[in-house]
Amino acid sequence: MKHARVLFTGSGQLNGAELDVTVEDSFATTGQLKSKTDGQLINESDVTWLSPIKEPGTIFALGLNYADHARELAFEPPKEPLVFLKGANTLTGHKQNAYRPDNIDFQHYECELVAVIGKEGKNISREDAMDYVAGYTVCNDFAIRDYLENYYRPNLRVKSRDSLLPIGPWLIDKEDVGDITNLRVTTHVNGELTQDGSTADIIFDVPFLVEYLSKIMTLKPGDMIATGTPEGLKDMQPGDKVVCEIEKIGALETYIVSEQEFYGDKY
């Protein structure tokens, strides 16, 4: 099953309510979502998509975790996972804006498979790891390369900015996906294919990462592990539409806007 969260923006007493919905197979043709509360059908045109994880926990992301991407950046593949953290301020939903900071030269997308933890655990073995995963979603882990410094790299200024982790459109139960070791990972910018890889190139896979992280700390429901991105980086500009898609999971659409447009009165 696909689980999503939306803000109802249509008319009536639901206006302004955050709703838990399911996304049925019929969605592709009807554009209708189904309320989990009362089964009511809701038109996509009456909602704003939110992050599908209601109470986000720790957001882990992996750097240099695809063999092809590590080559692209001229790095030796790491011997140990390069894990960094992101704040919940970075999260935004499907079909939302993400901003390009002023006066920078290079901002790129990163299409990533996200494993969402569904059960608390510590010292989880690789063999048991998938019991702790609820399902998957897609994220776009944007980076501002201009801001890289060699301190806690990739540093928070690069990786923990408002709106720069679009996620969704939905969380899909792991049982509905099955094997995740050979899924196609693509990004389209303004309709052009710019990134085309496969989760087969992942260096440290989901069971490994659950074991690795849970040896360090307790994992909790709502924690997310973004598993890194394949090669194919491209600069983003305001006006660009970016679609990150992972086979069997979903396609996440994001619109790039300027810093001024994003922050409006707070700019």
């Binding site: 926990g57 720790t58 882990f60 390069l82 894990v83 960094f84 953290l85 704040g87 919940a88 301020n89 970075t90 510590k122 010292n123 801001y147 410094e149 060699n150 301190y151 806690y152 790299r153 990739p154 540093n155 928070l156 200024r157 923990s160 900015r161 408002d162 992280l213 040896k215 360090i216 700390m217 307790t218 909790k220 922050y263 707070k266 700019y267």
Partner: protein, 221 residues
């Protein structure tokens, strides 16, 4: 593990903000892997699982099932946000502070600042936060405060906030341009560069004299 009722969203910590440490590391900053001194505040998160409370026992860390050899602690003045803080100037920064408290950062020794230190910093229960938040209106100048830390009654740190590379107001401003801070978010503004070693069973007490204190015990493996 005990959750903390004060910190609600994120706990951002500032590393390398002790001016003495920063000065002493200048030569090291110019070498690999850093290659040049940081131009921006060096920030890290203490994750949800680390949040703990005054009086709590702090778990001794393990690695591959074995108790680690050494752990360290530092204390910091903690700024608790009272309202949303997005892209604010230094001049206005302190208006967004709801109050002040203390944070202990227990961790593995800080051997390198090159990569995010997940193994060292994300240990369960390793970030106790004071049980009392002193209203911002009671602190006319946070730069005038001094944080002291004792291990088993012996003073190991005495760190005036004025000895930091960056001030409270400057850090709030800079961080607010990276990430919007929400009510209940916390920034730990800086720790002594030489963290104090602790052993199993040690009592760690930090204070801002006459204002607030934070007491923890290091647990057994």
């Amino acid at each position: 593990m005990t959750n903390n009722p004060i910190v609600k969203g994120k706990l951002v910590c500032v590393a390398l903000n002790d001016a003495n440490q920063f000065e002493a590391m200048q030569a090291e900053f110019n070498e690999a892997p850093y290659k040049s001194a940081p131009t921006q505040p060096v920030l890290y998160f203490k994750t949800h699982n680390t949040w703990s409370t005054d009086g709590a026992s702090v778990e001794w860390a393990t690695n591959e099932g074995q108790a680690v050899d050494s752990m360290v602690v530092g204390a910091s003045l903690a700024v608790v946000f009272g309202e949303e803080c997005c892209r604010v100037s230094q001049d206005e920064a302190l208006k967004y502070v709801g109050g002040y408290t203390l944070v202990h950062d227990f961790s593995l020794p800080e051997l390198t600042y090159y990569r995010p230190d997940i193994k060292g910093k994300c240990l369960d229960g390793s970030a106790p936060i004071g049980s009392v938040v002193i209203p911002a209106s009671d602190i006319s100048d946070p730069q005038a405060l001094t944080v002291t830390t004792q291990v088993n009654g012996e003073t190991v740190h005495e760190m005036p906030v004025s000895q930091m590379v960056r001030s409270v107001a400057e850090l709030i401003s800079t961080i607010s341009y990276i990430m919007t801070l929400q009510p209940g978010d916390v920034i730990a503004i800086g720790f002594p560069g030489q963290r104090a070693p602790v052993k199993q069973g040690d009592k760690v007490s930090s204070a801002i004299a006459g204002v607030i204190e934070l007491n923890n015990v290091v647990g057994r493996a």
